[in-house]
Symmetry: C2
Subunit: 188 residues, 2 copies
């Protein structure tokens, strides 16, 4: 089986309901072996960003907020959605300033992940911002209520153990900066 034997041909597509931050699309795709055409869900959205933001003491600036999907509070890295036409880096700087009041520092790109390529089309871009400093008050949108936390790695691991730091996109960004797990296998 070569790469072409895995690719489904899109034979039709239709627009589904608009859900606010997401748009629904249904694609009709032909199975590469059986040739059967199946209807598949795609959730379209802009890309997301999040930031591992470290203050000069090396603490990670985290946000605590109520999350509507799980109906509970989480501890996460600051982040949000990229505005149309905005560069991911600019979105990351904007979201960090709005959610925390922190800015400046030295920024680097940590890469992007697919949150769920089975049905989401968006990416989440991870950034590292070192030596950020307080620049302003929080500037929260009408849909936000956010408390700041300044965490050591030990405190983040404690939050992971308690279940409050469980958002995979936050953990994905943090795991490129900190040793979040003691891995059982040595590199070969």
């Amino acid at each position: 089986m070569d790469q072409n034997d895995l690719i489904w041909e899109k034979v039709d597509s239709e627009t589904g309901p608009h859900l606010g931050i997401l748009d629904v699309r249904f694609d009709y795709l032909r199975h590469p072996q059986s040739q059967k055409v199946l209807k598949r869900l795609v959730l379209e959205s802009v890309d997301w960003i999040n930031v591992v933001a470290l203050n000069p003491e090396g603490k990670s600036i985290m946000v605590e907020q109520y999350r509507f999907g799980i109906e509970a509070c989480t501890l996460e890295t600051p982040g949000g959605m990229v505005d149309p036409g905005e560069r991911p880096l600019d979105a990351a700087k904007r979201e960090l300033l709005e959610e925390t009041g922190y800015g400046g520092g030295t920024w680097s790109y940590l890469g992007a992940v697919q949150p769920n390529p089975a049905f989401h089309n968006h990416l989440c871009h991870h950034f590292l911002a070192r030596d950020v400093v307080r620049r302003a008050d929080q500037d929260l949108g009408a849909g936000e209520a956010i408390r700041l936390r300044f965490c050591t790695l030990t405190e983040m691991k404690q939050a992971m153990a308690e279940g409050s730091l469980t958002h995979v996109l936050a953990l994905s960004a943090l795991s490129r900066v900190f040793q979040m797990w003691d891995v059982p296998f040595e590199p070969e």
Copy 2:
């Protein structure tokens, strides 16, 4: 601000469209400070599972498949959705056997993550299966076309660099077993 200052009161809820593998719900929630009521999207689904499955040589059994969300092929850990009433561990063993034909071995639970608690209600449970062996042929559903790959850590890092291993839920499971990134900061 204490924890209660972050919690939004749900004042109403309505059922939105059914999207196949997801159901849409709209909740109406009261902002804890402004008291304004906002409509928020929740995507309801069963939990997901995925498995870091290692053969006796320590290679990671991975699946390559076309993903409809990003319209491209990915390299991922085997996984899927938990059937109603099924235990996550049983779902993981079932999906590994169906997608790869491998089973047996020694299983352990690696924890669960929230794929996106902002609007998803489901979790993804990660498992490690060591010393799995070939038990059967692949038993793929009508919606699957999957190629197996047996990867060393070096090969997985190569796939990350090339952009084919970018599914955050696969990376999240793998990063509890392998050292996927060289992290810049030492633990304090």
